[in-house]
């Protein structure tokens, strides 16, 4: 009897996993096709040989190529995310720590989002201490800021976004507040898991991996990430990072963290899991 119940539970779990995987593959295919579309259109335009339209002014050519490059970068970012998930689950994602100023990281990432912010009608306010330094992995922190800020723009278009970066007694704190669609209470626990999104994939694009990867990176830094949100009011994500990476505590995330940390000189202070 109990074996039967257990089998049914396992069967249900396996079915659920297959369903999540299939849904993910369908979303991933959609996401990869979206930047391919303008890329394809631009190339077709360049290749089209229509009478009287053979010459392309160098300036126009440059503009088209820049747009193509932008799509290539979008594809690259998507593929990086997919690879990160694969790296995290196979334990091949490493942190390369160095002295990093979180304020600088946030300013850099915000600068890269300038165009998107203005297209979305979001005004960005950044409040920060002069510097917030720690022994962190700069590129991974850029990813953290990119993922959270990207979501804030995506789900909070037309509304302001506030970022605070400050020193704490233990290290640094990053706070990103949006006034967008917000997240339901029951979805709050789900959003840091793999392939999970609080919104319908019909409405919003995205792989459903950003916050999962973000959580894994923050965990690897021995930090914490939390979210407070109210539907229709907005969300605030708070990341706290200890100044120095010490022994990595076991992660409490769904699959456990499988990250390895490497200092700049190549030694490995710690390998988890």
């Amino acid at each position: 009897m109990s074996l039967g119940v257990e089998n049914a539970r396992l069967y249900h779990k396996a079915q659920e996993a297959v369903r999540a995987r299939d849904e993910f593959l369908s979303i991933a295919s959609h996401e990869l096709r979206t930047p391919l579309t303008p890329l394809h259109i631009h190339f077709q335009r360049l290749l089209r040989k229509r009478t009287g339209d053979l010459e392309i002014a160098p300036q126009q050519l440059r503009r088209v190529l820049e747009r193509c490059e932008r799509q290539v970068r979008r594809l690259e970012a998507l593929i990086d995310n997919l690879l990160d998930v694969s790296r995290i689950s196979s334990g091949r994602l490493r942190l390369e720590t160095d002295t990093v100023d979180l304020v600088e990281v946030v300013q850099d990432v915000a600068g890269r989002f300038a165009e998107e912010l203005s297209a979305a009608g979001c005004q960005l306010q950044l409040q920060s201490d002069a510097t917030v330094q720690g022994e962190w992995d700069r590129l991974r922190l850029e990813q953290v800021v990119t993922n959270i800020l990207g979501n804030a723009i995506k789900y909070g278009s037309g509304k302001p976004i506030e970022i605070t970066v400050e020193n704490t007694s233990a290290g640094g704190r990053l706070r990103i507040q949006d006034y967008g669609i917000g997240i339901n209470g029951e979805d709050l626990n789900r959003i840091f898991r793999r392939f999970q999104r609080a919104v319908s994939s019909r409405s919003y694009g995205g792989l459903g991996l950003g916050l999962y990867i973000t959580r894994q990176i923050v965990d690897a830094h021995n930090g914490t990430i939390r979210v407070e949100s109210q539907p229709g009011v907005g969300s605030v994500f708070v990341v706290e990072l200890p100044r120095v990476l010490q022994n990595h505590a076991p992660s409490n995330s769904e699959s456990g963290s499988h990250l390895t940390t490497v200092t700049k000189n190549g030694s490995r202070p710690h390998a988890s899991n």
Partner: protein, 147 residues
């Protein structure tokens, strides 16, 4: 003769820009909407109906499915031919049997010549004669392979 108007409903800015440029280069007048709600708004305010609508499906605020159902059930709009342009092949396939008055379901990334060819069959192409809500559309729309 005034340029034939196409309403392009697409949330991705890069896709929107690329499609709009191609269509404008072909002599169309392109109006853009970032989601279904914008498109409804556009149609409500339009003095003349577009000759065709290019419709993405997965969009925030109001997705393409919802827009399409509103459009089909609104007397002044239901005759406007719709070309679905989606990266979701399954959705495009699922829609094909119910596609009337949708003209075609194209999967992203799309082929420009195919799109332009389809627009010409609705009479929005070089032959002219489009506009007026696309009422000259053939009642048996061509449904190219959705794959």
């Amino acid at each position: 003769m005034p340029a034939t108007e196409i309403l392009l409903v697409e949330d991705d800015r890069d896709v929107r820009e690329a499609l709009a440029e191609v269509l404008e280069q072909e002599g169309y007048l392109v109006s853009v909407a970032r989601n279904g709600r914008d498109a409804v708004q556009h149609l409500k305010q339009a003095r003349q109906m577009p000759a065709a609508i290019l419709l993405d499906l997965m969009m925030p605020v109001m997705d393409g499915w919802e827009f399409w159902s509103i459009q089909r059930s609104t007397a002044d709009w239901c005759q406007i031919p719709v070309v679905i342009v989606s990266a979701d092949a399954e959705a495009a396939e699922r829609m094909a049997p119910h596609a009337r008055p949708a003209l075609a379901c194209l999967r992203k990334p799309i082929d420009i010549d195919e799109l332009l060819g389809i627009l010409e069959t609705v009479g929005c192409g070089d032959q002219g004669g489009g506009g007026g809500g696309g009422r000259s559309v053939s009642p048996t729309p061509a449904l190219p392979d959705a794959k």
